[in-house]
């Protein structure tokens, strides 16, 4: 049976008295569900923040009292409103849903195919390197990660996609950029919609702001549209404090972020970015990847992103698809969520001070298939019946001190082993 608002309010008040920090989250949920006045929803959020930042017990107690009063106010406001008001609220929500459907129909289709390469191949006579049989589909709003060791064809693939190199085998087309299969590509038109950031970022002259205005102008954005696009990207990428700086005044990380701003200011349909994480600290990596994820997913200006990185776990956390290249050949090409679904064993990566022999002895009580050692870390392969929890419980029981642990059963990291 569904609980009444009175019961829920009482439970919340009890919770607020026992564990105010955790309950402040429940207060927000309660306000979201029952507050007819949107002001309550805002105030619940502010009280949660106030409590988290409260300086002393007196302050905390004062905030708890305010939270308790708010629960009562939400209940009395809810109860005193006639049924018709509740219906009006529901009607408003229904209109919001209708709005979403309306927007979906009128905005660019996400997941539309922007690029398709079929059996693409490229041979280099001098080095005898052969990139072969690449089947790649880039969809609007999706991120495709390309991984593999250095010299295995990632940059070659990128240069084929952006039209810097001509392929020797296979076919490519850009349906989302006005190029249909079987027709001659208009490279001027195609390249005008692709942004390519190579690993070695080319140096530029002048301030960031002026460069952004120029990049936007070269892609047809003029007047207010140009000004808006530049202002948006500077603030969106958190560069406002540096907009007047020149190349020599910037760190490696900011050079990358500024180059990204230059590439994104004119809203490309495809962004190809080679090893962007190499010069970024951990925080900046997370910010850049998160920004790319959100910008690719834009409703009005969705973008297909092709990205490479040696930072596998970070990359896997934002990509939709992954391509693993080894000596020019595709080892895996598919959805990241599907990787390892058909696996025959689980794999756990750990770092500890034990020798391989000692580790094997200590692991003997657990059903495992094999242990690999890459010089730094151990990869322990177990039957599927051994879960991550079982594995960790065994490490604890055996008192094995570890400095690092990761379940790589569904990570392309396994392909590097």
């Amino acid at each position: 049976m569904e609980k009444s608002i009175h019961t829920l309010a009482q439970e919340l008040k009890d919770h607020l008295k026992k564990d105010p920090l955790a309950a402040s989250r429940s207060l927000i949920d309660f306000a979201k569900t029952y507050a007819l006045n949107p002001q309550f929803k805002r105030e619940a959020l502010l009280l949660k923040l106030d409590y988290a930042n409260a300086q002393d017990e007196l302050d905390k107690n004062h905030i708890i009292t305010e939270m308790l009063v708010m629960v009562n106010n939400i209940v009395s406001d809810y109860l005193k409103h006639p049924e018709s008001d509740l219906i009006e609220t529901q009607k408003y929500e229904a209109r919001k849903k209708a709005l979403h459907e309306h927007l979906k129909q009128n905005l660019h289709a996400q997941q539309a195919i922007i690029f398709e390469g079929i059996d693409l191949g490229k041979k280099f006579k001098k080095s005898n390197f052969y990139l072969q049989k690449i089947n790649l589909v880039l969809r609007s709003g999706e991120i495709t990660g390309v991984v593999g060791e250095n010299g295995n064809g990632k940059t070659t693939l990128f240069r084929l996609v952006v039209g810097d190199l001509l392929h020797h085998e296979g076919q490519l087309c850009f349906p989302g950029l006005g190029h249909q299969p079987g027709t001659k590509p208009n490279w001027f038109q195609i390249k005008n919609q692709i942004a390519y950031i190579p690993q070695e970022i080319p140096k530029w002259q002048g301030s960031l702001r002026n460069n952004l205005h120029l990049a936007a102008t070269l892609h047809g954005l003029i007047g207010k549209e140009n000004e808006d696009a530049v202002n948006y990207i500077i603030h969106r990428l958190g560069l406002s404090r540096h907009e007047d700086k020149s190349w020599s005044e910037l760190s490696g990380g900011y050079k990358l972020r500024f180059t990204l701003a230059k590439a994104l200011v004119w809203r490309p349909k495809i962004l190809v970015i080679d090893e962007p994480l190499a010069n970024l600290d951990i925080n900046a990596q997370s910010i850049v990847l998160n920004d790319l994820r959100n910008l690719a997913n834009s409703l009005r200006h969705p973008m297909a992103i092709l990205i490479s990185s040696q930072h596998l776990h970070e990359l896997e956390s934002v990509t939709d698809n992954i391509v693993f290249l080894k000596q020019g050949e595709v080892i895996y090409n598919g959805r990241i969520k599907d990787f390892g679904k058909e696996r025959s064993e689980n794999s756990f990566e750990i770092e500890c001070t034990l020798s391989l022999k000692d580790l094997e002895t200590r692991m003997s009580g657990l059903d495992f298939n094999s242990i690999d050692h890459n010089g730094l870390r151990f990869i322990i392969h177990t039957p599927l019946s051994v879960s991550q929890q079982d594995f960790l419980a065994h490490l604890l029981a055996q008192n094995i001190e570890i400095n690092y642990f990761r379940n790589i059963s569904q990570s392309t990291k396994k392909l590097f082993v």
């Binding site: 989250r25 959020l45 849903k97 603030h235 969106r236 406002s240 959100n294 409703l299």
Partner: protein
């Protein structure tokens, strides 16, 4: 880390609310910029969010979270963010 993959207007405004509830005002402002780009095609509110971001940058650079007035300024910013979302949603709803 995975960023947002939801794209309904309700989910997007909820995402901003949740970022604010987690105290991540910087990311909330970023996502509000994206919200404006997606749901306010005429960019009527772009200048407002940029001004708000400037205020936020200034405010975080100058103030210690324990300093007097911090809470009021933070709350003022959060109300401004909510007001902008409401304005954009209402504009869109009244336009269909």
């Amino acid at each position: 880390m995975r960023g947002s993959t939801s794209n309904s207007i309700a989910q997007r405004s909820e995402e901003i609310y949740n970022l604010l509830a987690a105290g991540d005002i910087e990311q909330a402002i970023k996502r509000l910029m994206d919200f404006i780009t997606d749901f306010n095609p005429s960019n009527t509110y772009l200048q407002k969010i940029i001004a708000l971001n400037r205020d936020y940058q200034q405010f975080t650079a100058d103030k210690d979270p324990q300093a007097e007035g911090f809470k009021d300024q933070r709350n003022y910013l959060i109300h401004q963010i909510f007001d902008l979302i409401d304005q954009i949603e209402n504009d869109l709803i009244s336009s269909i």
